[in-house]
């Protein structure tokens, strides 16, 4: 059973739909107390960094999430903004992030006429092995939409790299904490495999 946290920001419908399609039990919870029994947590997120952190803090999610991630060490997967929230903070906002992964979230540099947000399907390549990237279909590609990118302190925490003007961390793992900058729930068979892998951990 995967517990999807509804703190008020994100594509819950599409994540839930994909779990249903691949036959994985999932539930959407919108109260912190419903997280207490969670065995595996998916943190979605679309929108602005501070808005999301504000909702996590004011909604009373912060403490229970922290306990789940750092003490109980249940697997957590952050998607898109959800991955950025795992870092110490973002250039997009002023509030601190969850800080579970030693990393920062920074703005894509404007360069060579590259349009920001980085939007569309892009190829990724593995940088370190991880359980969630096992047996991805050939030439794995995913759907991205983001104006900010995550930069990990330790290269070994980067599990997938992507190139858009510069190389950046498309997926990360630090112990039991996983993050995907792209939207697996919107990435056909590639995303299905990644979510299946997460469900199997």
């Amino acid at each position: 059973m995967i517990t999807i946290v509804n703190y008020g920001m994100g594509n819950l419908g599409s994540v839930f739909n994909m779990f249903k399609r691949i036959g994985v039990e999932a539930q959407i919870v919108d109260r912190p107390e419903d997280l207490l029994s969670a065995r595996k947590i998916l943190l979605p997120g679309v929108g602005a960094f501070d808005n999301a952190m504000k909702r996590i803090n004011e909604g009373g999610f912060f403490e229970v999430l922290n306990n789940k991630a750092l003490v109980e060490k249940v697997p957590v997967l952050g998607i898109c903004l959800g991955m950025q929230l795992l870092t110490r903070g973002s250039e997009e906002g002023t509030l601190p992030g969850l800080g579970w992964i030693p990393a920062d979230t920074i703005r894509f540099p404007y360069q060579n006429g590259l349009k920001v947000p980085h939007m569309g399907w892009n190829l990724v390549h593995p940088s370190s092995p991880s359980l969630i990237t096992l047996n991805l279909p050939e030439d794995p590609k995913f759907y991205f939409v983001h104006s900010y990118k995550v930069h990990v302190d330790n290269e070994s925490d980067s599990i997938l790299k992507c190139h858009y003007g510069i190389d950046f961390d498309a997926a990360v793992q630090h112990d039991n904490i996983f993050g995907a900058q792209f939207h697996p729930e919107k990435s056909h068979k590639y995303g299905m495999r990644l979510l299946e892998n997460f469900a199997r951990i």
């Binding site: 594509n11 599409s14 739909n17 679309v46 349009k115 939007m119 569309g120 983001h146 990435s187 056909h188």
Partner: protein, 249 residues
């Protein structure tokens, strides 16, 4: 390397899928759910749905159909038509669409746009711009499925849209739409060079060459297709297809 997105743009008339020519004469194509199942199997990059009469008839989006679509599709989804308030946009995001397409609302409800962009991010807001050439050969921006002339210049208007919170522009040539005669390269290039956000070119695709041309010469960031993905050929019967996988790297 980022792939150039090639996006079927499907026209809804409430519960039916239709296709128009120059925004007129909607012909029945089929059931939207069956059609999107095929596009999902074909692993298309993204889908855009536009209800062409919602705004005209002052009707809200048909959430039941959109919900069924979202259950079948595992690619990015955008919807436009009849969105003029924040709550309706929220309903669409909740279903599992990640972009809303707005046209008239940019002219009439800029505050709503600002609210959507602030809450869901600019990338979730697609500004739809329908353009027609007037008698003197100047481009003008239209709303309400091409029935209302705003008299605005598309290049100036698109710059404003970017400032108003649009994360992407869907630029449609009314003169080219449904004609299979190629995109309006000049219009697309002018707008693309004037804005910093991605531009989806729409209207006129009749061959793969048209698609590569609008990307290379028109500087489009993405391409939307209508007739070519729902008909066998010009003047022939309905055939849901996607001839463009891996056309552009």
């Amino acid at each position: 390397m980022l792939k150039t997105r090639i996006i079927p743009a499907l026209l809804l008339r409430d519960v039916s899928l239709v296709k128009t020519v120059k925004f007129r004469k909607p012909s029945y194509i089929g059931d939207p759910i069956n059609t999107v199942r095929i596009f999902n199997e074909l692993e298309v990059d993204e889908l855009i749905f536009l209800d062409i009469e919602a705004t005209m008839k002052n009707r809200k989006p048909n959430l039941r159909i959109l919900n069924e679509i979202a259950n079948e599709c595992f690619m990015p989804l955008a919807y436009g038509g009849g969105i003029s308030d924040f709550e309706t946009a929220c309903d669409i995001f909740k279903i599992g669409f990640e972009k809303v397409v707005l046209n008239a609302a940019f002219h009439t409800h800029p505050k709503v746009i600002e609210q959507i962009a602030r809450h869901f991010g600019n990338q979730a807001v697609v500004a739809s711009v329908d353009v027609k050439k007037n008698f003197w050969g100047n481009y003008e921006v239209f709303t309400h499925s091409g029935s209302k002339n705003s008299k605005k210049n598309p290049v100036e208007w698109c710059k404003q849209l970017e400032e108003m919170g649009a994360g992407e522009i869907l630029l449609t040539s009314i003169d080219k739409e449904g004609t299979w005669s190629g995109f309006d390269v000049e219009l697309t290039r002018k707008v693309s060079e004037a804005v910093g956000i991605p531009l989806i070119a729409h209207g006129g695709a009749g061959s793969k060459d048209h698609i590569t041309q609008i990307v290379h010469e028109g500087k489009a960031s993405a391409v939307a297709l209508g007739s070519i993905v729902v008909y066998q050929q010009k003047g022939m019967g309905v055939l849901v297809n996607f001839p463009c996988n891996n056309l552009l790297t």
